[in-house]
C-alpha cells in the first residue's frame, strides 16, 4: 500500500497527493462476562459443549418464560466499570432490541439502550511516545445470541443456542484511537484489566472478546469527525488492525476522488483482507428499542457499589507504580510484568521466594528472557509454566550467591524444564557447582601456564589478546564450573 508514513511508532497517517489524513477509531468491545450461568437463566456457559445442551426454556424463548437477572453478572459489570474508572449508575434499564433472526429465539435481544449500568470512564495506554488516555463512553449488559451454522448441512441452516443468553458487556470507547497500534494497546489493556478483575477471560479464540470497529478519516489537524463506517464483529487484534488499515485507505481513496463516504455497516473478509458493505444507513435495522416490561429497572445502592469497590484487587496501573517504587525496576520492565495478571503474580512469587538477598535485575531478566522464550516456543501461558516461581527463584539465588555461573544456570534451566526439577538438586547430582576454591583454581591455572609457556611469554610481551585463551583453557579444564571472576583475578596475578 502506497503512501503510509512512519510505521515505527504509534502514529499512523496516510498521505495522498498533498493531503495528510489521520484515522479516527472507536471500538465497541463485546466482552463475555465470566460467570457460570447466563444473564437471565441458570444454564451453564461452559465453552465447547455439544450443540444445544446448555439451553433452558428461557434461552429458547418458550411461551410464558420470563427472564430473571443474574446478580453475579451485574456485580461483574460493576467491577469492570470500577476498573475502567467509570461512573456506576444507580439506576439502569434493560431494553428490548427487536429483530428477527434464526439464532435469536425471543425475536429480541435484551440489552441496555438509554440507561446503561456504567457511564463514562477512561483507560490509560502505554505508548512509545508516552501515556495516552482513551475515553470510555459507556458499558452495558446484554444477552448474546445463539449461533447459526451454515456449512454443516447443504440445504439447511442449523442453530446452536448454547450461547443464547450468555452475558456480554459492551464497552464503547470514545473515538479517541488514532492508529492500529493504539487499538492493539487498547484491546490488550482492556483485556488485562478484566483479567485482573476476573470479569472476562479475554479469550479471543473462544469468542469471549470481539469488537465492532468504527473507522473514519479526516485531514490531519481537522477537529471535525468524518463519516464513519462500522466494521462488525472482528475477533482478533490482528484482523482489527488489518481491517482498519484497509478501511482507512479505502475512505481516503474515495475522498481523494472527490466522492463521499456512505455511513454503513461493513464486514471484514479475513481471506481477501478487505471490508465489504453489509448494509447501508437506509437499510439499517429499526430495532424498536423499548424498556423490557418483564424486568424492573436495575437499582443499585451506593453501599452495594462500595462493597464491590472494596473487593477490587490491585489493577495494572497501580501495580506498575508499586513495582517501580518497591522493586526499583524500570517503567518499561514494570509495564511488561503487569500487562498480564498471571505474569505479575509469577513475578511477585519469584520475588517473595528469593528472600532477603533478592536480585530484581536477575529476576526480571530471567522471567522476560529465558522463561518468556520457553513459553513462546511452547505457545503456552505463564500459568502453565513448566518451571514454578519457587524453583526459578532458587535458580536465581544460586547465581546470586555464586554457587553457579550464569552460563551453568542456563544449562540447569534447560534441565529444570523436564518436570519442574529443583535446581539445587540438579547442581548436586550433576556436580555443577562452581569452583570457587582459590587454591584449587591456582593449581589448575599453574598447570595451564606450565603447559603453555610460550603463549605465557608472548602475553607478557604484550600480546594481550592471549588472556582470553588462558581463560578459555581454565574454563575448559574445570568443565565450565570454574568461577569466572576468580579465574580472571588469578590469571592476572600469575601471568
Amino acid at each position: 500500500m502506497d503512501g503510509i508514513m512512519s510505521k515505527n511508532n504509534s502514529v499512523y497517517l496516510i498521505e495522498r497527493n498533498d493531503n495528510v489524513y489521520e484515522v479516527v477509531i472507536g471500538l465497541e468491545v463485546h466482552a463475555q462476562v465470566t460467570s457460570n450461568s447466563k444473564l437471565f437463566s441458570s444454564s451453564s456457559t461452559k465453552f465447547g459443549a455439544e450443540p444445544n445442551t446448555q439451553v433452558s426454556l428461557v434461552d429458547a424463548a418458550f411461551p410464558g418464560m420470563l427472564p430473571v437477572i443474574n446478580e453475579y453478572c451485574v456485580k461483574q459489570a460493576i467491577k469492570t466499570g470500577i476498573g475502567l474508572k467509570a461512573k456506576i449508575n444507580n439506576k439502569s434499564v434493560f431494553d428490548r432490541k427487536n429483530y428477527f433472526y434464526a439464532d435469536l429465539p425471543q425475536g429480541y435481544q435484551i440489552s441496555q439502550y438509554k440507561y446503561p449500568i456504567v457511564g463514562e470512564g477512561n483507560v490509560t495506554l502505554e505508548m512509545p511516545e508516552g501515556q495516552k488516555q482513551v475515553g470510555i463512553e459507556r458499558l452495558h449488559l446484554e444477552q448474546d445470541a445463539g449461533k447459526s451454522i451454515h456449512d454443516v448441512d447443504p440445504s439447511n441452516t442449523l442453530v446452536d443456542l448454547n450461547r443464547s443468553g450468555v452475558a456480554l458487556m459492551e464497552i464503547v470507547s470514545k473515538p479517541d484511537l488514532r492508529s492500529p497500534d493504539e487499538v492493539n494497546a487498547y484491546i490488550k489493556k482492556l483485556r488485562s484489566i478484566m483479567r485482573y478483575l476476573g470479569t472476562c477471560d479475554g479469550n479471543m479464540q473462544e469468542g469471549s472478546l470481539r469488537a465492532d470497529v468504527n473507522v473514519s478519516v479526516r485531514i490531519k489537524g481537522s477537529t471535525d469527525l468524518g463519516t464513519r463506517c462500522e466494521i462488525k464483529n472482528v475477533n482478533s487484534i490482528k484482523f482489527m488492525q488489518m481491517a482498519i488499515i484497509y478501511e482507512a485507505n479505502r475512505q481516503v481513496d474515495l475522498l481523494e476522488e472527490g466522492e463521499e463516504i456512505d455511513q454503513e455497516t461493513r464486514l471484514f473478509d479475513t481471506k481477501k483482507n478487505e471490508t465489504r458493505s453489509m448494509r447501508s444507513k437506509e437499510d439499517a435495522h429499526d430495532y424498536r428499542y423499548f424498556p423490557d416490561p418483564d424486568l424492573l429497572p436495575l437499582e443499585i445502592t451506593d453501599k452495594f457499589i462500595d462493597q464491590l469497590k472494596s473487593e477490587i484487587p490491585e489493577l495494572p496501573d497501580e501495580k506498575k507504580k508499586r513495582f517501580i517504587d518497591e522493586f526499583k525496576i524500570s517503567p518499561y520492565e514494570a509495564t511488561i510484568l503487569v500487562s498480564d495478571i498471571d505474569t505479575a503474580k509469577y513475578f511477585e512469587e519469584v520475588v517473595a521466594k528469593m528472600g532477603k538477598n533478592r536480585d530484581m535485575k536477575l529476576a526480571v531478566n530471567w522471567i522476560t528472557g529465558e522463561l518468556f522464550a520457553v513459553l513462546n516456543n511452547k505457545n503456552i501461558e505463564i500459568a502453565q509454566s513448566p518451571i514454578s516461581a519457587k524453583n526459578l527463584a532458587k535458580l536465581i539465588n544460586l547465581i546470586k550467591n555464586g554457587t553457579i555461573s550464569g552460563k551453568i544456570a542456563k544449562t540447569i534451566f534447560e534441565l529444570m524444564l523436564d518436570g519442574d526439577l529443583d535446581p539445587q538438586i540438579i547442581v548436586e547430582e550433576k556436580g555443577l557447582k562452581q569452583q570457587s576454591d582459590p587454591k584449587a583454581l591456582e593449581a589448575l591455572i599453574d598447570k595451564i601456564i606450565n603447559d603453555n609457556r610460550e603463549k605465557a611469554i608472548e602475553y607478557k610481551q604484550g600480546k594481550e589478546k592471549l588472556f582470553g585463551f588462558f581463560v578459555g583453557q581454565a574454563m575448559k579444564a574445570s568443565g565450565g564450573k570454574a568461577n569466572p571472576k576468580l579465574i580472571n583475578e588469578i590469571l592476572k596475578k600469575k601471568l
Partner: protein, 485 residues
C-alpha cells in the same frame, strides 16, 4: 340434592370434605355436562380421561387439608400446562405441548385441583368477544348467538354453564371482568404482581394478570388465595403480605368510603347502565358504605393509551413465534420467506392488526409521539387513582358500557369492539385490583356487571365490598341449557 355441577366451589369442597361427594363423582358430573355442552365450544382441549383418572387417585388417597381437595377445574388456554396442549387460541401454537407448568396452575394442582381441560379464548387474549380464536366462537350460555365476552370467553361460558366449578382467566385490559359481566359471573383481576406471570403466554407483559372467575364472591376469594403467590421466576412478582382472603372475608363494610368517578359517565352510555350504576350506589349505601364523588381526570386517555402500550408490548412478545423452535412452521424458500408464511398462516387478523400497530408505535420517528407519550399518560392515570385513594378506599363503576352483544355484531368494527374495555382498561394501566360482580340485567334480560376497584394489594377490601353488595343484589342467572340436545 342439587346437581353437583350447580354447587358453588365452597359447597363442593364442603361436600367432598364431608365425604358426601367423591372427587371422582364431581369429576364425572363436570365431564358429563361438558360432553353435553360441546355446542358452546368452550373447550379447546379436553383433559377428561386424565381428570377422571386423577380424581380416582385422589379418592384412593384423599387429603382434605388441601384448599381444593380433588376439585376438577378447567382453565383458560393461555396457561401453559405440562404435557397438555396449550394453544393461546392461535393456529401458531396449534401443536404446542409444553413441558412445564405455569405457576398459577401449579398452585391449583398443589392444593388438590385437577385439570379438566383448556378453555377457549381470543387469540393471544386479544379480543373482547372470543371471536378472534382460531378455534372458533364461543356461545354465551345466557342466550343463543350471544358472545361470552373476551378474551376469557371460554372461561366465562364454561363457568356460567356449570362446566367447571370455578376457572381462571387472564386480564390485560378487562379480559376477566368483561366476560364475567357478560355471563352473570364474578371475575377478579388482582393487583399487578399478585399472581405470577410465569408460564402464561404473554400478551402485554406490563398489564397481564391472572385472576379467579367464579359463580360468587366467596368462591372468588378461595381461588384467589390459592393462585396468588410471590414467585422468583417472575421479576415483576411482588412479595407483599397476602391475606387469607376467604377466612378474612366479611360483609361488614360499615364506614368504608367508595368513590364514584364522574368521568365514567361517558357519552352515549345506555340508560340501563346508568341506572345499574345508580342502583349499585344505593346497594353500597345500604351496606353501610359512604359514597363520595371523585374525579379521575385522565380517564378519557386510558383507551388510546392502552391501545398503544398493549400492542407495542405484544408486537415484541409475539416475535418468538417464528416457526424456528416450536409451533407452526410453514415451509419457505428462505428464512425470511419461512417467517412470512409461518406468521401469515399462524396469526389471525386481530393479532396481525395489533402487531402492526405495536410495530408502528415503536418505530424510530414515532416512538416519542406514541409509545413514550403513552407511558407518560399512563403515569398520569396512575396518579389520578393515587390521589383518589387519599379520599376513598375503593371505587365503584359499571364493568362494561353494554351487555353482551351478538356474535358477528362488532367483529368488523375493531374500534367499537375496543370501546368495550373503556371501564376496565384504566385499572390495568394503573396495576390495581378490581372485581366485576353481576348486578342486574338489561331489557333483554342479559346480565350486567358492576366493577369495584381497590387500592394496590387491597384485594380484601374489594372482595369484602363485593361480598356485601352481592348479598343485597341477590343476582341469579336464569340459564335454561338451550344448547343441549
Amino acid at each position: 340434592m342439587t346437581e353437583i355441577t350447580s354447587l358453588s366451589l365452597f359447597e363442593l369442597i364442603k361436600n367432598i370434605k364431608e365425604k358426601k361427594i367423591s372427587s371422582n363423582e364431581a369429576a364425572k358430573s363436570f365431564v358429563d355436562r361438558s360432553e353435553k355442552s360441546k355446542k358452546l365450544n368452550a373447550y379447546v382441549t379436553e383433559n377428561f380421561e386424565n381428570c377422571l383418572q386423577l380424581s380416582k387417585e385422589f379418592d384412593n388417597k384423599p387429603n382434605f387439608d388441601l384448599k381444593l381437595p380433588g376439585i376438577p377445574i378447567a382453565v383458560k388456554d393461555l396457561f401453559c400446562t405440562n404435557e397438555v396442549r396449550t394453544t393461546a387460541g392461535s393456529n401458531i401454537l396449534n401443536n404446542f405441548v409444553p413441558s412445564y407448568e405455569s405457576t398459577v396452575t401449579q398452585n391449583i394442582w398443589n392444593e388438590g385441583g385437577i385439570l379438566l381441560g383448556k378453555l377457549n379464548c381470543d387469540e393471544f387474549a386479544m379480543g373482547s368477544s372470543n371471536e378472534t380464536s382460531f378455534f372458533g366462537n364461543v356461545q354465551n350460555p345466557i342466550a343463543k348467538d350471544l358472545v361470552p365476552g373476551g378474551s376469557s370467553g371460554g372461561s366465562s361460558s364454561a363457568l356460567a354453564a356449570n362446566l367447571t366449578p370455578v376457572t381462571i382467566g387472564t386480564d390485560t385490559g378487562g379480559s376477566i371482568r368483561q366476560p364475567a359481566s357478560f355471563t352473570g359471573t364474578v371475575g377478579l383481576k388482582p393487583t399487578y404482581g399478585s399472581c405470577s406471570r410465569y408460564g402464561i403466554v404473554a400478551f402485554a407483559s406490563s398489564l397481564d394478570q391472572a385472576g379467579p372467575m367464579s359463580k360468587d364472591v366467596e368462591d372468588c376469594s378461595i381461588l384467589l388465595e390459592v393462585i396468588s403467590s410471590f414467585d422468583k421466576k417472575d421479576s415483576t412478582s411482588i412479595d407483599f403480605k397476602r391475606n387469607n382472603y376467604s377466612s378474612e372475608l366479611t360483609r361488614n363494610i360499615k364506614g368504608i368510603k367508595i368513590g364514584i368517578p364522574k368521568e365514567y359517565r361517558v357519552d352515549g352510555m345506555p340508560e340501563e347502565i346508568e341506572n345499574l350504576w345508580k342502583k349499585g350506589i344505593e346497594y353500597a349505601k345500604d351496606c353501610g358504605a359512604e359514597i363520595i364523588d371523585i374525579s379521575l381526570p385522565h380517564t378519557s386517555y386510558a383507551l388510546p393509551t392502552y391501545y398503544i402500550v398493549a400492542p407495542a408490548e405484544a408486537s415484541s412478545n409475539l416475535a418468538r413465534y417464528d416457526g424456528v423452535k416450536y409451533g407452526l412452521r410453514s415451509s419457505g424458500e428462505s428464512l425470511i420467506d419461512m417467517y412470512e408464511k409461518t406468521r401469515s398462516e399462524g396469526f389471525g387478523e386481530e393479532v396481525k392488526r395489533r402487531i402492526m400497530i405495536g410495530t408502528y408505535v415503536l418505530s424510530s420517528g414515532y416512538y416519542d409521539a406514541y409509545y413514550l407519550k403513552a407511558q407518560k399518560v399512563r403515569q398520569l392515570i396512575k396518579q389520578d387513582f393515587d390521589q383518589a385513594y387519599n379520599k376513598v378506599d375503593a371505587i365503584l363503576t359499571p364493568s362494561t358500557p353494554s351487555s353482551a352483544f351478538k356474535i358477528g355484531e362488532k367483529s368488523n368494527d375493531p374500534v367499537s369492539m375496543y370501546l368495550n374495555d373503556i371501564f376496565t382498561v384504566p385499572v390495568n394501566l394503573a396495576g390495581l385490583p378490581a372485581i366485576s360482580i353481576p348486578a342486574g340485567t338489561d331489557k333483554n334480560n342479559y346480565p350486567l356487571g358492576l366493577q369495584i376497584i381497590g387500592k394496590p394489594f387491597d384485594e380484601q377490601t374489594v372482595l369484602n365490598i363485593a361480598y356485601s353488595m352481592e348479598e343485597k343484589i341477590n343476582y341469579k342467572n336464569n340459564i335454561i341449557d338451550w344448547w343441549m340436545e
